[in-house]
């Protein structure tokens, strides 16, 4: 065994460059032309297709697959992108096994759906080096502020620009993309795809990107409402939940969100330090992404601990299996009690609990060089429209209770916190804003 793997503490370069490159290569390699034709041939071109119904962005899936099978992938891409301008990223990160591919009638027929996600990627990849396929309507002279350049904001901005409005797209970070750029496991968006997709999207024109500007820090909702004809809030969930019940910090604990962002921005994985023993606390996609990538960086022991049962995990069965296949140990029905220093390591103490979270009294502890917390994010801003359950309350088409202000994506109430849902909400709000500005 490689001695670097056994090395105690937190260290860089546990794996050699070849292994790292292999580990962080495309999770689902793209289909080549032949594979795409074979996969496309399996589509039955269903009437009122169940896959379309299952897609939050209502992409006409049978049509785009037929367009692939008849040798017109760019037409297929346009079918996809007209409904979902981030169809390329969604093809990479959508949990298709619980959306379109779950609904595919081939699942009923033979337990093996058409590879819709990979076909969508095939089509959209063809478009990325082509001239932008959409154009702007005549200028309306209306100005819209979009706050947050993640999937919802990008989607909203693009659709508004198409309708001829001038959009200012603000983001608190130093580059646009939101979770596509900072929050997705590296092996799902290789070759700087998130950045390339944003650049491609912005080719529509009429979108001015202003980075480093955050609501509450230089931007005020009142000011934006005064300066713009409409405001769309897509600020995501910038805060993270604390492990301790009183909201205080535990020693040794890092936010998994920050770790994932560090990985995504790293140009050299061998410079990202990782512990020999890693503990991840949480049961969602963020927890899985942190755990899997810890393992891929060369951590020897990675344990993911979730307080409820497996069936309650927000991470899909596919993601759970992925983690298991990479060597992540998953412990369920155990809640963290605290962290103690023990020599050069931390000891994270847990207590088993039943499905109703009642403690059983049975405790165990895990040694850790690194502890990642991934127990959910929360809204991190003041001066927002009326909230509901910690999110911005939205009604039809993303309208908030504040006139002239819409919201979508993870920061808004309703809908699953998925990239594809955010894209749909951004587009739908843009259409509503457009209708209102026209009226």
């Amino acid at each position: 065994m490689n001695n670097q793997l056994l090395k105690a503490g937190v260290a860089c370069g546990r794996l050699d460059l070849t292994e790292l490159a292999d580990n962080f290569s495309d999770l689902h390699p793209p289909l080549d032309d032949h594979q795409a034709l074979v996969a496309a041939d399996r589509c039955y071109f269903c009437h009122d297709a169940p896959c379309m119904t299952a897609c939050p962005t209502d992409i006409d899936i049978p049509l785009f697959i037929r367009q692939i099978s008849t040798g017109t992938p760019l037409a297929a891409a346009k079918t996809i992108l007209s409904q979902n301008i981030l169809g390329g990223m969604c093809a990479r990160v959508c949990p298709t096994e619980t959306l379109c591919e779950q609904a595919c009638v081939r699942n009923t027929a033979e337990g093996d759906p058409v590879e819709i996600g990979l076909l969508q990627r095939f089509a959209t990849d063809h478009m990325m080096d082509q001239p932008h396929p959409f154009s702007r309507a005549a200028a309306t002279g209306k100005r819209v502020a979009v706050i947050g350049a993640g999937p919802a904001g990008l989607s909203c901005a693009h659709r508004l620009a198409m309708h001829g409005h001038d959009v200012t797209l603000f983001d608190g970070r130093d580059k646009a993309g939101g979770l596509n750029e900072f929050g997705i496991a590296a092996y799902k968006s290789v070759d700087d795809f998130a950045h390339r997709e944003v650049e491609w999207l912005l080719q529509i024109g009429g979108i001015s990107v202003k980075t480093g500007q955050r609501l509450g820090e230089g931007l005020s909702l009142e000011g934006l409402r005064a300066d713009y004809d409409a405001v769309f809030l897509s600020i995501g969930l910038g805060g993270v939940n604390a492990l301790s019940r009183d909201g205080g910090e535990w020693p040794g604990v890092t936010n998994a969100v920050d770790f994932i962002a560090e990985l995504r921005q790293a140009s050299d994985m061998s410079q990202v330090a990782i512990g020999r023993d890693v503990v991840v606390i949480g049961g969602g996609m963020t927890a899985i992404d942190a755990a899997v990538q810890s393992k891929l960086l060369g951590a020897l022991n990675v344990t993911l601990v979730y307080r409820r049962g497996r069936e309650r995990m927000n991470a899909s069965p596919f993601e759970q299996d992925l983690a298991a296949s990479k060597g992540v140990q998953i412990i369920t029905n155990a809640a963290p009690l605290g962290v103690q220093k023990s020599g050069d390591q931390w000891q994270v103490e847990f207590e088993f609990s039943d499905d109703d979270l009642n403690p059983t009294g049975e405790r165990f502890s895990l040694p850790a060089d690194q502890i990642f917390s991934a127990i959910g994010q929360k809204l991190n801003s003041s001066e927002l429209p009326e909230l509901d359950g910690g999110k911005i309350l939205v009604g039809e088409a993303g309208r908030t209770r504040t006139p002239g202000v819409w919201a979508g994506g993870d920061c808004a109430s309703g809908g699953e916190d998925l990239t594809v849902t955010a894209v749909a909400e951004g587009r739908i709000a843009a259409e509503d804003i457009n209708a209102q500005l026209a009226g």
Binding site: H47, D48, A49
Partner: protein
């Protein structure tokens, strides 16, 4: 006992699967491989008259259409008859027949439409020991431009004339291969019989342009920017071939003439269907050209197992069983009523039956909010389109409405008596029911 043992015109072969005269049977090497793979017989690729050999194009010879997963459905070819020396072919035929006495070996022939030409080549073929000859009156490309192949097959008088010459100059069975590029196949078949043919074989390939290259704006296969029509074959032509076989089998003038069926035979089932329509054996080409000679093993096992399941001991037990069931439209029983029934356990809810019926037929399928598809008996005319577009075999079936029950579409009680167009009151020329 070998149930598949075939005796066609007195020529025995271990099974009724012969390779048709075509590229796979052009030379000794291929034919030996075919016999080793299990083929019952071979019709050697067409020989021409002695002289400078035929020349073929040096560009592509084949074009195709495909179904899902690029499964080849139809093949088009512009290859001519053998381009090898006549005597080389005759020597190889002699050697192969001597080595495979239990297999059928037929020699296909095409020479100019002159008595001298035929009477010159026939003694040479006789000497090879081959079991018979097949007159190539079918190839529609190239040779037809020179007055041979389908140019002969399209003129019944020529068929009869040449057949008679061959029967006079050749002692063994003469099979006349017919072209489908005619209006009514019964006329050339009758001509072959009048000329003394022992059998007909059909169909040869169909005139076709298989596709157009949209960059070159030229037919495929494209030779230096141009393409000519070719001969179409493969699974796509089987329905046309079956119709022609049935027409000859049920024509009173030719009903007793043996038929070697050709056209899209790809599986044992295709062969069984042709034999049921009256064929004595089948000839295969495209299936072998697509998958290799080994496909015959599936044909042998499949036909044997099916015959076992039916209790048939020989091919004769089912040969022609379907022939009398082929009738004219006017003889179909208009009192027979059926309705489509969708098996909900098999339905995968693709909705193709629904949209096909809704958009293009009789609006006879209901789609619920839960995607449950059911047939509306008061609208269903039993057209069978839903059955044909359903991707799941056996999911939608047609069920007969028994006599005495009411057809919800017409409100009329189904009657048991036969009633066809000839006696229908709407037919101005109806004849009184007996």
């Amino acid at each position: 006992m070998n149930k598949l043992a075939s005796n066609f015109l007195g020529i025995s072969s271990p099974n009724p699967f012969w390779l048709a005269s075509a590229p796979p049977t052009d030379k000794e090497y291929n034919v030996r491989r075919a016999f080793e793979a299990g083929w019952g017989g071979v019709v050697w690729k067409t020989l021409g008259a002695e002289g400078p050999p035929i020349v073929n194009v040096n560009g592509p010879r084949y074009g195709a259409i495909w179904g899902a997963d690029r499964r080849l459905l139809g093949l088009n070819n512009i290859e001519l008859i053998t381009d090898r020396d006549l005597y080389t072919n005759l020597e190889e035929i002699t050697r192969v027949k001597a080595d495979y006495p239990d297999r059928a070996l037929i020699v296909s022939l095409m020479v100019p439409c002159e008595e001298e030409a035929w009477k010159t080549i026939l003694p040479l073929v006789e000497q090879t020991g081959a079991d018979g000859i097949e007159l190539n009156f079918g190839c529609p490309h190239g040779m037809a431009e020179r007055g041979m192949g389908s140019a002969v097959g399209q003129v019944p008088e020529y068929i009869e004339m040449v057949t008679r010459w061959c029967k006079e100059a050749y002692s063994k069975p003469v099979i006349v291969k017919l072209t489908p590029n005619i209006t009514d196949v019964r006329y050339p078949a009758r001509a072959a019989k009048s000329g003394g043919a022992d059998a007909v074989s059909l169909i040869n390939t169909i005139n076709s342009i298989v596709s157009v290259d949209l960059d070159a704006f030229a037919p495929v296969p494209t030779i230096d920017g141009k393409g000519s029509h070719g001969g179409y074959c493969g699974p796509a032509v089987k329905p046309i071939a079956m119709h022609m076989v049935a027409d000859i089998a049920r024509d009173p003038e030719t009903a007793d003439m043996p038929i070697s069926a050709i056209g899209g035979v790809t599986t044992w089932r295709d062969a069984a269907e042709f034999i049921a329509l009256g064929a004595g054996n089948v000839q295969v080409c495209t299936a072998a050209m697509t998958y290799g000679f080994k496909v015959v093993q599936e044909m042998i096992s499949g036909l044997t197992d099916w015959m076992d399941s039916k209790g048939y001991d020989s091919l004769a037990d089912f040969q022609g069983q379907a022939t009398p069931k082929v009738c004219d439209w006017k003889d179909l029983n208009l009192n027979y009523v059926s309705k489509a029934v969708i098996d909900q356990d098999k339905c995968i809810q693709c909705g193709r039956c629904y949209i096909a019926c809704e958009d293009t037929s009789h609006q006879a399928i209901d789609m619920s909010d839960e995607r449950i598809f059911t047939v509306k008996d008061d609208e269903c005319v039993a057209c069978n389109l839903c059955v044909n577009v359903c991707p799941v075999e056996g999911c939608i079936t047609m069920k007969q409405i028994a006599p005495g029950q009411v057809d919800e579409r017409t409100g009329k009680t189904v009657v048991a008596e036969h009633g066809d167009w000839t006696t229908h009151p709407n037919n101005p020329a109806n004849i009184a029911a007996e």
